[in-house]
Symmetry: C2
Subunit: 198 residues, 2 copies
């Protein structure tokens, strides 16, 4: 096929992103071609900055520009509650909700022996160490409600039990704006079990 | 919100792409963060190459790494037929079909006075000049079948009429794998009018 090699190479690179198929990859590459030198340079620099300026917080493994992340450095956060999440993107989701003022702990995934993810591949040891610092009073497990998430939650709960701190997990139920009619039975069941008094 | 600045900047840059919303932009930026130095460098280089190694073919305005594009340079192509398209992506679509062996002419858009696109903004003058070189026998108008496309087709047809060359346009009809029941009336109508003997 007579497609110029540099375009093909760029399409292939975009195609490597999750959820970006070949057609979308082509659209993105052609869009870049239409942008001016300055705009493309800005885009490239933002990507290079991602890798050079960001690393993981030494305490919670969230993204950080310093040794510690902005959440861990903030004097306004409640240091007695740690919210345990799978990925950095989950920190962003919870921060956006404006409903949590404690600290985070990013595991970097969930236990999944079939895919070869064991406890030592995740930041579980580090979490247990943090939880035993005497300052921590509650651990909120905010991993995704799937099989691997459940397993990981139970594993963590079992391993921090001896510390005598409260371990909670985020509520499962009907999403806001959702419809009982279209929710699956498991979700409806959990919503009923997790009912609260108003 | 406590999101590290370099990540926010990258998300904003991805958000500028067509069809990439804020959530997808975040997913793409976080994916890059997970890739290693070498992979990110490859991605960045492919983008820089796009801008530095590609320019427009002097004849047909397709993408080219040399002065002329691979189609125009190929000795195997039929130089008597020119297929007129809106964008570079249309050249790729037609090349993929393997059904065309002539040359192309990329207009760079369609006439759209309301959006301020007039004949001088497109490569129409250059097309008419090419069509009058004595070698051209047929002009295939392969612009999209919408109002602007129709207007552009008619404008070009009118302006090359005096050259006495054949002007055709690609067929409209039911797409392969499509269903008569779900096709709109205009398409079905065109399919009936454009019937061919088998």
């Amino acid at each position: 096929m007579n497609i110029a090699e540099p375009l093909l190479a760029a399409i292939e690179e975009f195609n490597k992103f999750p959820g970006i198929g070949r057609k979308t990859a082509q659209r993105l590459a052609l869009f870049l071609l239409k942008r001016n030198e300055h705009e493309v340079k800005n885009f490239v620099n933002s990507i290079l900055d991602l890798k050079s300026k960001l690393h993981f917080c030494g305490d919670c493994f969230n993204l950080a520009t310093e040794d510690k992340c902005e959440v861990c450095l903030s004097p306004k956060r409640d240091r007695s509650i740690i919210c345990v999440v799978e990925e950095v993107s989950d920190v962003i989701s919870i921060e956006k909700s404006n409903e949590f003022n404690g600290l985070y702990h990013v595991l970097g995934g969930v236990l999944n022996p079939l895919s070869g993810v064991h406890q030592d591949d995740l930041k579980i040891k580090e979490l247990i160490k943090r939880a035993s610092n005497g300052e921590t009073k509650e651990l909120i497990l905010a991993v995704n409600p799937d099989t691997e998430g459940e397993t990981t939650s139970l594993y963590i709960a079992k391993n921090v039990k001896h510390l005598g701190i409260k371990v909670t997990r985020i509520a499962r139920g009907i999403p806001i704006g959702g419809d009982l009619e279209f929710a699956d039975e498991a979700t409806v069941g959990r919503a009923v079990l997790g009912r609260i008094e108003i």
